[in-house]
Symmetry: C2
Subunit: 327 residues, 2 copies
């Protein structure tokens, strides 16, 4: 059955059972707006991301299940980067009339299962037709105490720079997908990223991070955002970059430079954060507790500028600073 | 200059000055998420609408200034229909790389000026490129006391049904635009709708409305939503429908049926609400105070079903029940 046959109200009725009457929701899908009760004393964090067919995803390379999960995951990652607790989401879809339920249902399954995993309730959104591709727009609200919210602007000279997990896998995965491969860890990292909400929230609640961002544009570009907003510089040691075995095995045959993809490839959805040097032990414990590596890759400097040091100690110049949607 | 030349960060820097540090905003555009302080004791209302080029708008028929204002207005109308106060908005744009600043700047001007008029602060969003048309996704948050929020589900038998302003003008305007006309009140109503936030908020604060919705799908379809969710029926008197002089002058030459467009044409963005019969005088006063007609067009019945009565008292069957995006 196509969306055209189903109709707009049929579609809405397909989405409603996936929305919830979770904690704090007084009015879900079905009125002019949703109504939720903010937790007293907390600030509301709010973020939105749009995913456009042919720009952010290719339905011949991703399954609709993965796409549904990823469209919420990229927003969860933004809330993680603030150290906040995700709560409520709105899902807006512009759908080609010929789009089939065989695509839509697993897409919604992926979205809903990612929402459930993170305790997020779907409360609203919009559906309309698209004359071009499939367009997904997700809004996510979260909450946190004012004094725990972690901004990009708080990095202090002497702070260590940490990154969770491994970097560059998503960009490697996309490269492999475009070369016709369909399996492997890097491809999964690209198609089905797992946002680091538990880590982000704990870093905030324990007051360990001074600045934080999620890696969506690429490590170098996203570190640049922290440095610009903190008015600082940094030194980054390339030999400390956490690279997966698959990355180390595959990249040498694909590129002249082992580090370029890890520095400039986007969509890792790892957390990049700064913390005082004396919190090192606590970060090690937290990393072990949540089962997620947190690697010290550099140090914040007082003077502006981002210096990359090669394994041999010589300065390194990255080939690209990240991903610009309009370039 | 095209967006491709400007680049994503250039675009964001173009939007940031239009965002604000309004009351309650602790973190605006420029971090992973925005942070706002909910007013203690109020519920948060949240709504999202997507506008897609070629489906919702045609850049050869609308100016970018009107489109920017309308993309927020349709969300303001949803918040008005809840009786809530609009507060914070997020604007996400998928933009063709060849889109020019001559289109983008006035679009943002229209959006910002509508935001300012309603005391709304732009706090975030997303920008990306589109391989197809221009896609606009707006999220709007509002606030209201729990006991004042007006749902669709509260209509009670004996309640009078009111509609603000006049109906059918937007649909007439679209018809005229498609016939090559470019001027006149109906066309303005279609391209530059004015949401009824002052009226909606006052109806809520004075506890006058039992159910409310904004007319986006068409009067008949939107009344149907109130009836379904209230589990009631209604009688609607067609001779009471508030039709503009332009509508009465132009429609007879365009259609066999004077009422079809007023009943099924969408995008009026007027408020449709129900209120106890004994509040009639108060509604008349409120209408005069805000300078917006509020016309009693029918009555809620206990039994389900929507009965339309023609001016001669005979039953009338509408030709269409509204606008379905996928039909």
């Amino acid at each position: 059955m196509t969306l055209k046959e189903l109709g707009e109200f049929g579609l809405i009725h397909r989405i409603v059972p996936r929305s919830g009457s979770g904690r704090g929701v007084t009015l879900g899908i079905g009125d002019d707006a949703a109504a939720v009760i903010p937790t007293p004393g907390l600030e509301t964090l709010i973020t939105a991301d749009m995913l456009v067919e042919g720009v952010h995803f290719d339905l011949t390379l991703t399954t609709p299940l993965e796409l549904g999960a990823k469209s919420l995951a990229v927003n969860l990652s933004d809330i993680a980067a603030m150290g906040a607790v995700p709560r409520f989401t709105l899902l807006s879809l512009a759908i080609p009339p010929t789009f089939s339920l065989e695509l839509l249902d697993p897409f919604l399954d992926g979205f809903t299962s990612m929402a459930q995993r993170h305790g997020v309730t779907l409360v609203g959104g919009d559906t309309c037709s698209s004359r071009a591709g499939f367009v997904i727009s997700v809004t996510l609200m979260g909450e946190q105490r004012s004094d725990r919210i972690i901004r990009r602007s708080g990095a202090i000279p002497g702070d260590r720079i940490y990154v969770t997990g491994t970097v560059g896998d998503s960009a490697l995965g996309l490269t492999l997908l475009r070369r016709g491969e369909r399996n492997g860890g890097a491809i999964i990292r690209h198609l089905a990223p797992l946002p680091r909400n538990e880590a982000g929230q704990l870093l905030a609640e324990r007051g360990m991070a001074t600045a934080m961002i999620d890696i969506s544009d690429g490590l170098a570009a996203d570190l640049g955002h922290i440095l610009t907003q903190s008015g600082r510089g940094a030194t980054l040691f390339l030999d400390r970059l956490p690279l997966s075995q698959e990355y180390r095995d595959r990249v040498p045959a694909l590129a002249d430079d082992l580090f370029a993809l890890a520095l400039s490839g986007g969509e890792d959805y790892e957390l990049l954060f700064t913390a005082p040097a004396d919190r090192q032990e606590e970060i090690r414990s937290l990393s072990a507790a949540v089962g997620l590596p947190m690697t010290d890759i550099g140090e914040i400097a007082a003077a502006s500028g981002l210096l990359f040091l090669s394994p041999d100690g010589s300065p390194y110049t990255p080939t690209s600073r990240g991903f610009d949607h309009f370039s």
